[in-house]
């Protein structure tokens, strides 16, 4: 019997250090009756050697596996050239970021490839084990605090010494999704005093359960959402609140990004100018437009004596564990569409239908 071959490439996009398969997930896929080809060097940043992949049962191949496997799994989307090697009926899974890659999407559609984008995974219970957006946001939230901490010229914890006390750092987190909540938890671990804000007033309980203060606007809410959200009054009150709390903080971490959409500017240059010299601002949304007006993706920018860190692919800065979570996510999704060694996605399944982008020459989602 000829088994279905899964290909794991060495990621070729700039500064991508993760990998979509690790020896442990190779073992899982072989257990599901599949064969796995791993491109030589694929795990180098994740410190997984070719020998370790071989020991887990993978074939280590010299080139990008597109066109020599039936299923291609990766972190970043294939390039249009790599995608052009895929054949009708082949399957590919990655963060396809379809709105940013219309040329790639057209190649996938035209070639009859069945493509799944983890960006589009429905947020339902059955899909949680494949939820790579959440797992990578967890990494990003943790790393945002690590990167801020190393740049802050102060301690995060309070210290009482024979030469007197230094107070704990004050940390403000804007956006209390997965990344924001993990940033809160990490800053709290390090002993900082933390406060957080989210347009969803319903985030209050989660924020408080992590030991942080939840900042509230004095406005009516309906079902946990500010009733007047996006009204002029709402935006002005929000602006005032954020300005006041930014000025009082040593570290600000902004996490208000929505995949595929432009992030809202929450922190203006005037707000930064009111901060204590030496303060640090990390903008996790820098790649999607930025929550901080002054941020540039992948760069540290000084605005006066305030350091603005524009995140670029934050999960990639911690490739071993980011890859471990991602590889498990993508493997879980693949196993969900595999039975008896055959990969046959059931597009009536809400999870698979939800994240399927192209299939049999059809584009199944409208791009924006």
């Amino acid at each position: 019997m000829i088994t279905v071959r899964v290909g794991v490439p060495a990621e070729s996009r700039p500064a991508e250090r993760r990998v979509a398969g690790l020896p442990e997930t190779v073992t899982t896929l072989i257990g599901a009756g599949l064969t796995v080809d791993v491109q030589a060097g694929a795990g180098r940043h994740a410190h997984a050697s070719d020998a370790a992949y071989r020991a887990a049962g993978a074939n280590v191949v010299p080139d990008h596996p597109a066109g020599r496997c039936e299923v291609l799994v990766s972190v970043q989307p294939p390039t249009p050239e790599q995608a052009a090697c895929l054949r009708e009926g082949d399957i590919t899974i990655s963060f396809l970021q379809p709105n940013a890659e219309p040329e790639l999407v057209e190649v996938l559609r035209a070639n009859g490839v069945t493509s799944f984008s983890l960006d589009l995974l429905p947020r339902v219970t059955r899909a949680q084990s494949a939820d790579a957006l959440s797992s990578q946001a967890l990494v990003a939230g943790y790393r945002a605090v690590v990167e801020a901490t190393r740049r802050l010229p102060k301690f995060l914890p309070m210290f009482t010494t024979a030469a007197g006390t230094v107070p704990p750092a004050k940390v403000l987190i804007l956006g209390a999704g997965v990344a924001g909540l993990q940033a809160i938890a990490t800053a709290r671990r390090l002993g900082a005093v933390v406060e957080a804000y989210d347009v969803r007033a319903a985030a209050k309980e989660e924020v408080r359960s992590l030991g942080a203060k939840f900042l509230e606007l004095d406005l009516e809410t309906q079902g946990g959402v500010y009733a007047q959200a996006q009204s002029e009054e709402f935006l002005e009150r929000q602006r005032q609140l954020i300005a006041e709390r930014v000025a009082a903080s040593d570290i600000v971490i902004t996490t208000a990004a929505v995949p595929g959409r432009t992030a809202p500017v929450l922190v203006t240059n005037d707000m930064l100018k009111a901060m204590t010299p030496g303060s640090v601002v990390v903008d996790l949304a820098a790649e999607s437009g930025g929550n901080v007006a002054a941020s540039q993706p992948g760069e540290d920018t000084w605005l006066g004596e305030v350091l603005v860190v524009g995140a670029r692919n934050m999960p990639s800065t911690m490739p071993v564990h980011a890859s471990r979570l991602y590889a498990r996510n993508v493997t879980n999704l693949l196993v969900m569409m595999t039975a008896d060694g055959r990969v046959a996605p059931d597009l009536d399944d809400e999870v698979l239908a939800g994240c399927c982008l192209t299939h049999r020459g059809e584009l199944r989602r409208e791009l924006s």
Copy 2:
């Protein structure tokens, strides 16, 4: 009445970002009846502006204040050229590191300067508020964990996610003095599993009280010290224990430095080769010979897939709070020798006598 003038220079030695006086300590010194001159830009890395020093009552002066003040306080020792400007009876306080700076010491002696080295401060209760070695070791221990954490491609805390669990990082601390204990505390805060070793078996209780495991050699102790310390048997048992625990760790931080002496090599290249790829080792003793054979001060060195970080002036990486503690320490020592606006060190006082290096043309300590 002409008041005694205290000078605070902008530090001129390479990569020194701390400052020996801040606006708050200017206020203290003026309260003690002294006048303070601060060199323009002295506080720039500590984010203390010339305007803030002026607001606290200091004179901001354009040049290095040596020779224009009666008391010179600094972090790094003055250069021999700066010291040559000091006059008979002038006082200077810094980390003089006398064994490393024999030429400087000779200038101070020959010019009749009364010099105090914070390296030499007696470890007695009355001296604690001036104990800059301890305050800066506190900073170094904290920063060692921050620097290791940002280089580790893994989480420190354990995470349980829908895609399974990642275990907590394992951290080994060698040396449980002030820096080592602070490294233990910081790694524990971040959720790591921590173990520590010290040649002083008596360090056990402190290590355990911070939630870490204390590694013990199966050897007799006398008064909390291994009776056979430095014997062949002791050294071989210690080597075996360290080799075994290094191999099992994600992060190793070595802190076994004794000011003025060459640090012992505790971690060999063979030990590093047995570590998991991606592991990180921080050698806080890199500047004094190194506890890690492969470390180079101020450099990151890969040994295979293990990253060795050679610390150089770690406190200087966190200049606001390192300066705050240092400035308070040096100010406390200066106030100890000041009464009614006159600075008159009583060299019968054990604290002042203990750290006085030169006085009236005499060298009061033997250099090694």
